[in-house]
Symmetry: C2
Subunit: 309 residues, 2 copies
């Protein structure tokens, strides 16, 4: 099976195919199927994260609804900034104020209610530039890569910095990845009984740290219990995960998606939103010998013929 | 497919088979395969937990080794009690002292080292009464139930109160359940670099609460992201999980394993080790209409002909 039809022939495509061939063949570098674990960052690695994260639009929409009902919330400075699209001022209010607004948007909902809200929102909301649902803005070459790996008996997981329950609302439809194979940032849940039924209620509190940087390998171990051998990412917050996959006992592979295609998508550096001093991932990739996929030169299509210009 | 050959014909077996038939047939109570999630407690539900938990023997063995090297540890009263097999005195030292001893036994090991230690120990250690490895003391009728569910497109998860990494060391071999489908109690992990490799180091600190009682439904949601429709347990700490599975929008099934067979296994009530005031699960089962499997009358064999008397 050749695979990767939307990847232009060249070094990047060849090195992916060669790696998969190497660990699935019978030679000394063979890795048994049970150890073929692949992990993918989501925002900017599997789907478009610009102008901002998909989930940020979702949270903002909910804050608008809540603010319309609660003047107290509407007048809170950080919420006022967010509703005025002034992210810089909102961040300037401090991390805890910013987190307050984000985490209160869906607090009090049960896990089931949140999943329904997220699914309904994903169905009806479109991207400001491309005019299609956000879930259509997944990278065709990366979907082919997921298929290639699954076709070679890899287990594929998404490891997102975003909220785990948000992505689970569409991961099966969009990536063919079931909810239990999505790892992400989580909020605390309270078990309650409502009308005789056990429900799990979202608290306005993050469970541990956001799933970025060092927490990515840690949460991979807590959730999967095995070290991945293949990892893909696009920002500084993915570096530890890629390093984890490539420094285990089996041969590993790290892939960095480089956003260098302003025409078909966006052009920006893979830095960190939360840590301005973090090394851009392109530099880490060069230093550690990781493979970089240039969106512009390695991919013959980005979103497919119906969306690509 | 009939299934459950080691289950004696009767009400219990009939109600399990009828339920599986009901949710997998095409009638109004049909549940789509993606929602067929089944969860099983481990100790006392899938394998033998007497005279005490398998993992307790593992921890004790390690404490013996450590105490031989460190007089300071050996002379700590809680450790002295544990090494003298005096569990009552050890518990009397207080929860934090008790936890100190348990959590320090394997602190400082990397996740990989712990997995190797656990696998090696499980290979070489035998049960004091039955004289076979602990991993042979799994209930044949329950293995048949796992197979029945998987054969009907259920996804099966183990949700143990014990340490998740300990059970993962054997879950694939013993139950055919891969490490990522095991949910349990976890310790905190630190990401470190050793000899240029990323490793995850076990801290002597529990991550959140032990996975018993209300944390079971919460951790199921965090890990799986779907409400189970089938749940099995044997102690008070499993009740919330069984209630969660049976109060969702789809028809649910709760199974309680009743240890009433002193001859072939043990006879004891399904109370809680940590909460002496908890209602025994047999009483909860009666109150809420759950199905109880009597080890003595519902099972034609417990561990199979090589072990059963």
């Amino acid at each position: 099976m050749e695979g990767l039809p939307s990847w232009r022939s060249g070094e990047t495509k060849a090195s992916i195919l060669e790696y998969v061939d190497r660990v699935t063949s019978t030679d000394p570098e063979h890795v048994p199927p049970a150890a073929r674990v692949a992990v993918f960052d989501n925002d900017g690695t599997l789907w478009c994260e610009r102008p901002t994260y998909v989930q940020a639009y979702f949270i903002l929409g909910r804050l608008q609804e809540l603010a319309a009902e609660s003047p107290e919330l509407a007048e809170r400075p950080v919420v006022r900034d967010l509703l005025a699209d002034d992210l810089v001022s909102a961040l300037g209010r401090g991390a805890s104020e910013f987190a307050y607004a984000l985490l209160h948007a869906h607090a009090g909902l049960t896990a089931d209610e949140f999943a329904e809200e997220a699914a309904a929102w994903l169905d009806k909301t479109t991207h400001p530039r491309f005019g299609v649902p956000f879930t259509r803005l997944v990278y065709t070459p990366m979907l082919e890569l997921l298929d290639l790996l699954r076709g070679n008996e890899f287990r594929v997981f998404v490891v997102t910095g975003g909220g785990v329950e948000f992505l689970r609302a569409c991961s099966e439809d969009v990536y063919g990845i079931p909810p239990d194979d999505v790892i992400g940032s989580s909020v605390e849940l309270d078990m309650e009984r409502r009308d005789g039924r056990v429900v799990l209620v979202r608290r306005p509190t993050l469970l541990g740290s956001p799933n970025e940087g060092e927490p990515k390998p840690v949460n991979i171990q807590l959730h999967i219990g095995r070290r991945p051998i293949f990892a893909a990412g696009n920002s500084a917050g993915d570096c530890e995960m890629l390093e984890y996959a490539t420094t285990g006992p089996s041969p590993g592979f790290a892939l960095v998606v480089d956003h260098d295609d302003e025409h078909r998508e966006y052009a920006y550096a893979g830095t960190s939103l939360t840590d301005p001093h973090a090394e851009p991932i392109a530099r880490t990739a060069g230093r550690l010998g990781w493979t970089t996929a240039s969106m512009r030169t390695d991919w013959t299509q980005v979103f497919g013929p119906e969306i690509d210009p």
